[in-house]
C-alpha cells in the first residue's frame, strides 16, 4: 500500500490528435478515481433523421459526410444494407474491387493515425511535424503510405475524401487499365515500406498494460474481415449481422452526444486490435511469421498494441490490393440497375476503427423511411472509460497532472476515436435507473 491520498480534478479541455471534439474529466478522491467522464461534445448532426425521405444514392453520398476519415466505410456499410433490400448481389468483380477500395481507406486511415496521431506520444513529440525533424524518413514513409491509400480510393472514386464512385450494384465506372497499372506499380514499390513499418512500430517503447476486455469483430470463412462476415467475439459470440440489435444496446449518458453501447450488458472493444485478436488465422502465413518475429504475442490484452495491429493491417491491405488487381480487367458492366423496392436491410463492415453497422427501411418508391447507424467510436466509448479508469490507476494517480493528462490521452488515442461520427442516434431505448 502506498500513502496515496491525492484529491483533485484533472481536466483535458480539448483532446489533441483525435478526430472530432472531446474532453476528459477525472475526479480523484483520496487516491481513487471517483468519477471519470470522457466527454464528447461534438454537436450531433442528426444524420439518421436527415436521411429520411432521401433516395438510395443520396444515402450513399450522404453518409460519407459522417466522417471525412472513413467515408468509404460508411458508403460500404450503407450500400450493403441497401443492396440487401433491393435484392442485388454484386458481381464477383464488384465484390473484389470494393474490397480494394476499402483497403485504400485502411491504409490511409491507419497510416494517418500511426504517424500523425499516435507515434508522437511514444517518442516524446507533440506533433508529427515536430517528430519529422528527428525521424524524417519514418514520417515521410508514413505520409507516402497514407498517400498511397488515398490514391487507391481516388482510382475508384475520383477523390479520397467523400469519393463519388460507389452506387448500388457496383461502381459508376470501372477504373481503366492504365490507371490501374500505374496504381499497381506504386503498390509494388511500397511493399517493403509497409513491412518495415511493422518492425518500426513493434520497436516503439509501448507501455505494458494488460486488461480484460471482449474483442468484437467480423469473421469471414476465408478472408481477413473487411467487407463481410459474421459478428464474433473472443467470448463465444457468433451471430449474423442481422441479429446485432438483439445483443447490442445503446444508451445515452449526460456527458456525451454519442451514445454508449453494451454487448450483452458489458462494454466491448471493436477496431484493429479486436479484429487481429479474432482473426490471426486469417492473416497470410508470411505476415503471421513477420508478426511472430516482432516478439509481441497476439492475441494481446494490451491496448497499446493497437498501433501494431494497425501496421499489420496496413501491410495486409496493401498486399490484398495488389493481389485482387492482378490481371485486372475493367468490367464492361461495373454495376447493375436497381429497381425500387420496399423493405428493411442491414449492412455491417469493418471500418478502420471497427464494425460499422447500418439499418435502413425503404418505402415502395425506394425512399428512406428510417435509418439507424451505429459507428465504432460509439461502441468503444464505454470500453474507453473502463480502460481509462484502470490504466490511470495503474499508471499512478499520485503523478502530476501533466503526466496523467498525457497518459490519459495516449490511452484514448489507442482507440483512434473518430468523434465526428457522433451523429446519433435513433431507435434509442431509454435506460432510466
Amino acid at each position: 500500500m502506498n500513502d496515496n491520498t491525492r484529491t483533485g480534478e484533472i481536466h483535458v479541455p480539448v483532446l489533441a490528435r483525435v478526430e472530432g471534439e472531446g474532453a476528459l474529466d477525472i475526479r480523484v478522491r483520496e487516491g481513487r478515481i471517483e468519477t471519470l467522464k470522457l466527454r464528447i461534445f461534438e454537436p450531433p448532426r442528426l444524420f439518421e433523421k436527415l436521411l429520411e425521405g432521401r433516395a438510395v444514392q443520396d444515402v450513399i453520398d450522404g453518409v460519407a459526410r459522417i466522417c471525412g476519415i472513413c467515408p468509404v466505410a460508411y458508403q460500404m456499410s450503407a450500400v450493403a444494407a441497401l443492396e440487401a433490400i433491393l435484392g442485388i448481389t454484386p458481381s464477383p468483380w464488384v465484390t473484389r474491387m470494393r474490397r480494394v477500395m476499402y483497403c485504400g481507406e485502411w491504409l490511409q486511415s491507419h497510416s494517418l493515425h500511426i504517424h500523425l496521431l499516435a507515434a508522437p506520444d511514444f517518442l516524446g513529440f507533440d506533433s508529427a511535424p515536430a517528430m519529422a525533424r528527428r525521424y524524417p524518413d519514418e514520417v515521410r514513409r508514413g505520409l507516402r503510405l497514407q498517400g498511397l491509400g488515398n490514391a487507391i480510393m481516388q482510382t475508384f472514386g475520383g477523390r479520397s475524401v467523400h469519393p463519388v464512385g460507389v452506387c448500388t450494384g457496383g461502381f459508376f465506372r470501372a477504373p481503366d487499365a492504365s490507371s490501374m497499372a500505374a496504381l499497381r506499380a506504386r503498390l509494388e514499390a511500397s511493399r517493403d515500406e509497409s513491412l518495415a513499418l511493422i518492425d518500426w512500430v513493434a520497436g516503439l517503447p509501448l507501455p505494458e498494460d494488460d486488461q480484460d476486455f471482449v474483442s468484437v469483430s467480423l469473421r469471414h470463412p476465408r478472408d481477413y474481415p473487411i467487407t463481410a462476415g459474421r459478428i464474433v467475439s473472443d467470448h463465444g459470440l457468433d451471430i449474423s449481422v442481422d441479429d446485432f440489435e438483439q445483443h447490442v444496446r445503446e444508451f445515452q449518458v449526460p456527458h456525451s452526444t454519442a451514445l454508449h453501447a453494451h454487448l450483452d450488458g458489458r462494454p466491448y472493444l471493436v477496431g484493429p486490435l479486436a479484429r487481429l485478436n479474432n482473426n490471426l488465422d486469417r492473416l497470410p502465413a508470411e505476415l503471421r511469421d513477420r508478426l511472430a518475429t516482432s516478439g509481441i504475442r497476439f492475441p494481446s490484452r494490451n491496448m497499446f498494441h493497437s498501433i501494431i495491429a494497425r501496421a499489420v493491417e496496413m501491410h495486409l491491405a496493401l498486399d490484398e490490393a495488389l493481389q485482387l488487381t492482378e490481371a485486372y480487367d475493367p468490367a464492361a458492366e461495373p454495376h447493375v440497375q436497381a429497381t425500387p423496392r420496399a423493405g428493411t436491410g442491414v449492412g455491417c463492415t469493418e471500418a478502420p476503427r471497427g464494425i460499422l453497422w447500418h439499418r435502413y427501411t425503404l418505402d415502395a418508391q425506394g425512399l428512406v423511411e428510417s435509418a439507424r447507424i451505429v459507428p465504432p467510436t460509439s461502441q468503444n466509448q464505454a470500453r474507453m472509460e473502463e480502460d481509462l479508469g484502470a490504466a490511470l490507476t495503474r499508471f499512478g494517480l499520485d503523478r502530476d497532472d501533466d503526466a496523467l493528462r498525457l497518459h490519459g490521452e495516449m490511452v484514448i488515442r489507442n482507440y483512434d476515436p473518430c468523434i465526428s461520427c457522433a451523429t446519433h442516434f435513433l431507435d434509442f431505448h431509454a435506460d432510466r435507473e
Binding site: P43, I66, D126, R159, S160
Partner: protein, 272 residues
Amino acid sequence: MITPHRRPRIAVHKFSSCDGCQLAFLNLGEPLLALAESVDILHFAEAGPVDESADVDIAFIEGSVATSADAARLRGIRERSRHVVTIGACATAGGLQALRNLADSEAWIEGIYARPEDIDLMADSTPIAKTIRVDLELWGCPVNGEQVLGVTQALLAGHLPHVDHAAVCTECKRRQTVCVMVARGTPCLGPVTSTGCGAICPQLQRGCYACYGPAVQANVAALSSYLVDTGMPADEIARRLLFINNQAPPFLDAGREWQARVIQRSGGEETS
C-alpha cells in the same frame, strides 16, 4: 501584421463537421512538412497543437455554427485573426446537417435522444459568415489540398486570392469529358454548380450533385425546367437541389419552390 521578424502563424479550427476538410492539410504529404517548416501552426487540434487563444495571420475554419457556445468562440477567433477563411460546405453554407433547418429540428432531436435536455444544439446549422466577418470562403465538400495551400500562399504573400466559380461544365469542356446529360441523359447539376472539384462526377459517368456550391450566375430555374422536361418529378428536383449545400441561396430558393409544388399538388389530390 507579417513582418520579417517572425514566421507567419496559422490556426485550423473545427466546428460542426466531419473533419474531412482538415484532411486537405493532413493529406498533403510532403507539402505538409514544408508548410510546418515555413509557418507556425499554433492551433490545429487534430494535428497536435492546441492554443485557440493564439493571435494568428490566417484562421481556417471548418464546420458550421451548431451550439450555443459557438458564437462567442467565433468572435474570439475573429478578434485574434488577421484573415478568416472558411473551408468547406459546412463552414460556408451550413453543410448537409443544415437540412434540419428545413425541418422541425426539435422533433428530430427528441426522436433521437431520450434526454434531449442534455443536448446543446441550435435549431439551425448556419455558416460562419452569419456570425462573424469572413475574408474568404472556400466551397467544396470537401475542399482539397491545392485550394488550402494556394490560399495560404496567396494570403501570406499579401493578396486575397481569386476563387473561380465558373460552372462545372467549363471544367468538363477543358478536360474534354463527354457531357453526361447530353450524351447519356443523366441528370447533372454541373450547369449550376461551381467548379473546383475537377469535374470528377461526369468523368465517372454520373451527374454532378452540387457539392461545390452554386456557380456564379447559376440559372437554377432553367436547369429545373429542363429536368422537368426529361420527366423528373418535382420532389426529386427539390431533393437534388436541397442536398450538400441546401442553404446556398440559389439552391435553397429554388428547392423550396419545388417542395411547395409537391405539397400543393399532393394537397390538391387530397381534396379532389
